[in-house]
């Protein structure tokens, strides 16, 4: 495709700017970056059009060249275009430099391996130094502006890759001392100096000769990237630790190393050089210089902050926002080292007067007011990070900063905050200040409410009234002298303008219970004392749904009954039902049953009737707490923004059993051997309080008879629970796996179902003793059992390894209850009853040091391998 015409480009750029993402997604998107680079060299396009193309690339490089390699290609192409420009003045050189810089920095291509970077950096430095680049590269008339532009480009690259110009400090200093353009060089030097200080001290190196070497870092050779690499390309914030975060990164690294006297002297000289010519900079540039130098020198040995002192008086006198802000930054950086108590007081006074000076615009006032309340005091008393009036800012100073109804909302709120802070302090001080700030505050709030009550007033008037009230409750919580009139004032406001119900509901949601509860009471009184049929009924219902609770039931119900007759449309009926719902949740039952019955019959809208009936059924069938949960806010976000859907989901959540992760753990304890059946002793443990726990067990493979469920009324974490006994009825004497399910209610009232990890019933858990034979008849009893096993049963001999405790230890530990005949420590006869009706008999005799041969008989073939495994495992279990 050939080059586009000027108009075609204008159209294309317009389409792109209207929505870059849409354009790039379209058919033309892909080619835009390439076309742009190509057409910059077209001879058919005017310079003006090309400048507009470059302007686009300055703003949207990421869209035009989305990856690193594309950015590198673009930067190379831009540099080629620059080099190919004919040697006459052109409007393209500046934007081409800016565009190449932007493409590299924003595209992430800037680095030692990038060819474009290695071309651009020496070019920029050469331009900045005003060197002759040969072949009429820079026409004389453009040299000065390009010098400044090159400095700006280098500064941007240094910002994105700190340390880039570490090797050029001496050169830049030399240029600043000669004829170079003051502002671009000053800012560049200050930034490079600050970054170098941070990086060098991080690696424990000094400045060395960096400030004095006047050789270009390229010196014909490659660019020096060492300092950049030492810094890992980490960006450097300007004010790294304001507010004084404990030993901020910047500070620590700067104090890490002292500079040699010579280095310190050079550094001081460079800083003084920068500060002395700073008045030649524009105010915004002066401010940047102060921010950079202030935080660079903070905590640096041998660099007294007094260096800044000569600048301060000049700066304090100005009305410039950036300059005063920079002074505050110096204040935060150096504190008492630069500002004595008197200086601090003066700064506060200048700030105070700037915050109200009629010659300054309102946004400036507001920012200064913020600065006052966040003022970096030498000796702050209050907690860090909280807005507070500085100690030196007494009532006298604040006089002109107090709010009045004539202020716009933001100024009013900002000043109101200050007034609240004064009122909070005032409580501790002696009375006698006239007029008292608190009285003034009350009048002001009354005025705001009066405005909010205006019938035709815009919503903003109501909003600011509630915001002011909220601010006051936050700042002056716990002061009944303020809160009581506020509550009554708001109740009165509601009486006059019930359509502000939404604001009241929001206000009730936001404030602490200290204010919320009494305000609810008076608002409820306001509503229920109405006849229930005025035109504001929908607002009253909205309000009541928020404030109705168990108190004043009869008045509330009377109001609703009266209102029901007037709820003709769907909205009102829904409003009415919402109040019923709130009452249900609050546990109101008596009169509500009647009301719901009436509504279920009378409401015109079938949906309303259905809901009333549903509430009635819920009320009749659910216990209090369950009802509360059923009607509580839905846990799942509704898929549709319909109240019915939301409500329905609430019911679903509350009335159905929820699948949940297990909040209870079970472990098998030591097993008991009393009674006719083996009993598993279970130890439950809850992770959260749970109620009405039902544990259900299922035996896999039907090896035992079905198990009864176990019930536990309540389990709490950290409170030891009684062990649960689970009797087993084996159908055959075999170990088994139990599947466990838990059903419980959480403290939020939800019923949950959880699958617990399975429990294992071991072979030994089934052991029961035989009835004890009379004294002395043991041997005979055992022999009888022994003989009865054969011929149907089986016999075997197993080597049972012994641990260090020997045979005696083994028996006492595992088989004690089943021993029938014992001749310690050499011989034990053991008889085990395995329900339902098997037996296992063991003779342990003639033990050796490492084991004992066990002769065993059983009347059940199937038991034999289990018994063998059991015996072999005993030693390991010891």
């Amino acid at each position: 495709m050939g080059p586009l015409s000027r108009d075609a480009w204008a159209q294309r750029l317009g389409a792109f700017r209207a929505s870059p993402s849409a354009f790039m997604a379209g058919a033309e998107g892909e080619d835009l970056g390439r076309d742009l680079l190509g057409d910059l060299r077209s001879e058919k396009l005017s310079e003006q059009t090309k400048v507009s193309l470059l302007a686009l690339s300055l703003e949207y490089p990421a869209q035009l060249w989305p990856d690193v390699s594309a950015a590198e290609v673009a930067a190379t192409s831009l540099l080629d275009t620059l080099v190919l420009l004919p040697p006459r003045p052109s409007a393209l050189r500046r934007p081409l430099l800016l565009a190449a810089t932007t493409a590299l920095a924003a595209g992430g291509a800037l680095g030692p391996t990038s060819g474009a970077s290695c071309r651009l950096l020496p070019l920029l430095l050469g331009l900045a130094a005003g060197s002759d680049l040969g072949r009429g590269f820079v026409p004389a008339s453009e040299q000065r502006p390009l010098q400044a532009t090159a400095c700006e480009c280098l500064r941007e690259l240094e910002s994105c890759k700190p340390g880039l110009l570490g090797g050029s400090l001496g050169l830049l200093r030399g240029l600043l001392g000669q004829e170079g353009p003051v502002q671009p060089l000053s800012l560049l030097l200050a930034l490079a100096l600050r970054n170098t200080l941070v990086l060098q001290s991080r690696v424990g190196a000094g400045l060395g000769g960096l400030l004095t070497d006047k050789v270009s870092p390229t010196g014909g050779g490659p660019w020096d990237w060492t300092l950049v690499e030492e810094g890992d390309g980490r960006l450097q914030p300007q004010a790294p630790s304001w507010p004084a975060a404990e030993e901020g990164e910047g500070e620590r690294s700067l104090t890490a190393r002292e500079h040699s006297p010579e280095e310190a002297r050079e550094l001081r000289a460079a800083v003084i050089q920068l500060l002395d010519t700073s008045y030649l900079l524009t105010p915004v540039a002066q401010a940047q210089l102060l921010w950079l130098l202030g935080w660079a020198l903070r905590g640096l040995q041998g660099q007294p902050p007094a260096l800044f002192k000569p600048q301060l008086v000049r700066l304090l006198g100005t009305a410039q926002l950036t300059l005063l802000h920079a002074v505050l930054a110096l204040k935060a950086a150096f504190g008492e080292a630069l500002f004595t108590a008197q200086d601090e007081a003066l700064l506060l006074r200048r700030l105070t007067l700037a915050a109200q000076h009629p010659a300054l615009p309102p946004p400036t006032h507001l920012f200064y007011l913020h600065c006052l309340l966040s003022f970096p005091e030498n000796w702050p008393l209050g907690p860090e990070g909280e807005e507070a009036a500085p100690l030196l800012l007494g009532p006298q100073l604040c006089r002109g900063l107090l709010p009045s109804l004539l202020h716009d909302p933001m100024a009013l709120l900002a000043r109101l905050h200050l007034l609240c802070l004064l009122c909070a302090e005032d409580e501790e001080e002696e009375k006698g200040q006239l007029p008292s700030p608190r009285h003034y505050l009350e009048e002001l709030l009354a005025g705001l409410r009066q405005r909010a009550a205006l019938d035709e007033g815009p919503r903003a008037l109501a909003t600011v009234c509630f915001q002011a009230s909220y601010l006051v409750t936050r700042c002056l919580a716990g002061q009944p002298t303020v809160l009581t009139p506020l509550i009554h004032g708001l109740a009165q406001l509601y009486r006059v303008r019930p359509m502000l119900a939404s604001h009241f509901v929001d206000f009730l949601d936001q404030v602490d219970s200290e204010l919320r509860e009494p305000l609810k009471v008076v608002l409820r009184q306001e509503v229920v004392s109405r006849p229930g049929r005025d035109e504001a009924l929908c607002w009253h219902l909205k309000m009541l749904a928020k404030v109705a609770d168990g108190d004043a039931q009869s008045a509330t119900l009377n109001f609703l009954q009266a209102a029901a007759a007037h709820c003709m449309n769907w909205d009102l009926q829904q409003g009415l039902l919402r109040v019923c719902r709130a009452l249900l949740r609050a546990g109101v039952r008596g009169g509500l049953v009647d009301l719901l019955q009436v509504l279920a019959r009378q409401l015109e809208d079938p949906d309303g009737r259905d809901h009333a009936r549903l509430y009635y059924i819920l009320l009749a069938h659910l216990a209090g707490p369950k009802l509360g949960v059923a009607l509580g806010p839905s846990l799942a976000p509704p898929a549709l923004a319909s109240s019915l859907v939301a409500e329905n989901q609430g019911f679903v959540a509350a009335l159905m059993v929820q699948e949940a992760p297990a909040l209870v753990r079970l472990s098998v304890g030591s097993h008991g051997v009393k009674g006719p059946l083996p009993v598993l002793k279970l130890q439950p443990e809850a992770l959260e309080p749970i109620y009405s726990l039902e544990l259900r067990f299922r035996v896999e493979g039907q090896l035992y008879a079905p198990l009864e469920a176990v019930h536990v009324p309540c389990l709490c974490p950290g409170r030891p629970a009684r062990p649960l006994l689970l009797p087993l009825q084996p159908r055959c004497p075999a170990p088994a796996r139990l599947d466990v399910h838990a059903l419980y209610t959480t403290s939020t009232g939800l019923t949950c179902h959880a699958h617990l990890p399975p429990l294992f019933v071991n072979f030994a858990d089934l052991f029961l003793p035989f009835p004890k034979p009379p004294e002395g008849a043991g041997l005979g009893f055992f022999e009888e059992l022994w003989d009865s096993c054969l011929p149907e049963g089986a016999e075997s001999c197993v080597w049972c390894p012994l641990g260090p405790q020997g045979l005696e230890g083994l028996v006492s530990h595992h088989l004690e209850p089943f021993v029938v005949v014992a001749q310690p420590p050499t011989s034990y006869y053991v008889a085990i009853h395995l329900p339902p009706n098997s037996k296992l008999l063991l003779r342990l005799e003639a033990a050796l040091a490492d084991g004992v041969p066990v002769a065993l008989r059983t009347d059940d073939w199937a038991v034999l391998p289990l018994a063998g495994d059991y015996l072999r495992g005993l030693a390991a279990a010891l």
């Binding site: 929505s19 507009s52 302007a55 703003e59 990421a62 934007p95 810089t101 920095a105 924003a106 992430g108 004389a140 000065r144 500064r155 941007e156 910002s159 994105c160 353009p181 003051v182 960006l235 004010a239 304001w242 030649l280 105010p283 915004v284 000049r314 006198g317 009305a319 926002l321 950036t322 802000h325 935060a332 003066l346 007067l353 000076h357 009629p358 010659a359 300054l360 615009p361 946004p363 913020h370 966040s374 990070g385 006298q396 006089r399 009045s404 933001m410 709120l413 900002a414 006239l434 007029p435 205006l454 919503r459 903003a460 915001q467 009230s469 909220y470 939404s502 604001h503 929001d506 206000f507």
Partner: protein, 490 residues
């Protein structure tokens, strides 16, 4: 200290979007730093469309504030500065510096060089003040001498080129965009060394210095027990120094006559090189006493090329220039009004104009008026419910004039008559508008001897003075009126 993006948006109530983005500029290299500095809390700069919508919503400039919207109207969403968080696509873009002036919204997003969660205090974000200065600079450029929409459009179309000079990478180099304009225009002029960055060229021609002092007087008068009337003078001294040389040194002094009122709260232009501590400390915050510094107020400076505001000051003169009372009573269907105005004898009785505007808010159109005045003429704007009493160039010899009468109103119609949230019921004011040339209330003046120029050639000095009223209110003394804390300090 840099900006990620800047926007100019015209506010167009009544249109579907309620506004149009007239200009926007993004700074991708700053954006890249923002992504690194902000880390997980980084929120990208949105495209113009979503930004416009979110900003207008936050500033309450959409036409739909009928319903309560929690994200805007909740009582806990308190904004105390012109710096906002905008909800865009579920994320909050912060900090957005924005303000509305003359139906244009100026907005920018400063870079914050740390994580945004928790939000750092604004005072620690260097880009915030720079952002304000940037926007003020654009505002000055657009509105200096601008008369109509086409001029505004021309200036808007110049902005991209100007910002290429004044803010090529998002870090503002000069808030005075006119300097950049001159730079673009005279790029070929070789600049001499050590040229201040705020001075783009040198003056060639006859040396002359012009100093003009404009004082505005505001007042709140209540005529009530327990509430003090207040008034204040705010002065602006504007200079234009046409002097040869790169950095001519000039000292300009402001003088007061013996009975003049001391200047206070002095804020100076950054070109002033040093300040006397007496100037720095004289402040209206302190109780006045006889020892207050009363000049001469010397300002040594190296002037920029263009006209600049040398300083601003305030002053507390002993009496208001015009003392008045206004009484308004509702009598069944009509209002009875009585007004009395008295010019203080010390004030120059030679006005360029003097009028009293008497608005009636929250009422219908004026249907009937009967009045008697001792001086001047009364104009009636029936539909606007406004009376203007034209007093003219001079008060009569007695220095005192009065107006009384009754006004009847028709039925209210919301579109026509103005709504006012303060003037409810009998709460009402009249507002004085006047201008006196070659006069200042404080007595402050600059003359031939006030200017010292350390440069070749004796310049021609011209000095101008004028007094203008501004927010000069006289409240109905028969009804409650909004007071400031200062009025309660008797």
């Amino acid at each position: 200290m840099a900006q990620r993006a800047v926007w100019l948006i015209s506010h167009e109530p009544g249109t579907p979007l309620c506004g149009t983005v007239r200009f926007s500029r993004r700074y991708p290299t700053v954006e890249k730093r923002a992504r690194v500095f902000n880390g997980a809390s980084y929120v990208p700069i949105p495209e113009d469309g979503p930004f416009l919508k979110a900003l207008l919503f936050e500033l309450r400039l959409l036409d739909d504030d009928k319903d309560f919207v929690e994200s805007r109207d909740s009582c806990s969403r308190i904004n105390k500065t012109s710096i906002y968080g905008l909800l865009i696509g579920g994320e909050e873009l912060w900090p957005v510096v924005a303000f509305l002036k003359n139906d244009i919204i100026y907005a920018c997003v400063p870079l914050v060089e740390q994580t945004l969660s928790p939000r750092p205090p604004l005072i620690s974000v260097s880009g915030v003040s720079q952002g304000f200065e940037f926007l003020f600079g654009i505002q000055d450029f657009l509105y200096s001498g601008q008369k109509n929409d086409s001029e505004l459009n021309t200036k808007l179309s110049q902005l991209p080129d100007l910002l290429l000079q004044a803010c090529p990478f998002g870090t503002l180099l000069d808030a005075n965009l006119k300097n950049s304009l001159d730079n673009t225009n005279f790029a070929s002029v070789t600049q001499p060394q050590k040229q201040p960055a705020w001075k783009t060229g040198t003056y060639k021609g006859k040396p002359q210095v012009s100093i003009s002092i404009t004082e505005k007087v505001k007042s709140m008068q209540y005529d009530k027990q327990g509430i003090a009337d207040t008034w204040q003078v705010v002065g602006t001294v504007t200079c234009k120094c046409d002097l040869e040389g790169i950095m001519p040194n000039v000292t300009i002094s402001l003088n007061l006559p013996t009975n003049g009122s001391p200047l206070q709260d002095i804020l100076v232009h950054p070109c002033v090189t040093s300040l006397d501590s007496a100037i720095l400390t004289s402040s209206s915050i302190d109780a006045m006493d006889d020892s207050a510094f009363s000049g001469p107020y010397k300002f040594p400076l190296t002037p920029p090329l263009e006209s600049f505001n040398l300083c601003y000051y305030t002053s507390q003169v002993p009496v208001p220039p015009i003392l008045g009372f206004y009484q308004m009573k509702e009598e069944e269907v009509q209002l009875r009004i009585t007004i009395n105005l008295k010019l203080h004898e010390s004030v120059k009785n030679n006005f360029e104009f003097c009028e009293a505007h008497i608005p009636f808010y929250n009422r219908g159109p004026i249907t009937h008026l009967e009045y008697k005045t001792s001086f001047g003429q009364l104009e009636v704007f029936r539909e606007k419910s406004l009376l203007i009493w034209i007093i003219g160039q001079k008060f009569p010899k007695s220095m005192e004039i009065s107006l009384s009468g009754t006004v009847t109103f028709g039925a209210k119609s919301h579109e026509r008559q103005p709504f006012d949230p303060i003037c409810i019921g009998e709460t009402a004011y009249l507002k004085l508008h006047f201008r006196i040339l070659d006069y200042t209330l404080t007595g402050c003046y600059a003359d031939q001897h006030s200017v010292q120029v350390f440069a070749s050639g004796k310049p021609k000095i011209s000095a101008y003075r004028k007094l203008i009223s501004s927010d000069y209110y006289i409240w109905n003394s028969k009804a409650p009126a909004p007071v400031t804390y200062g009025s309660l300090l008797l």
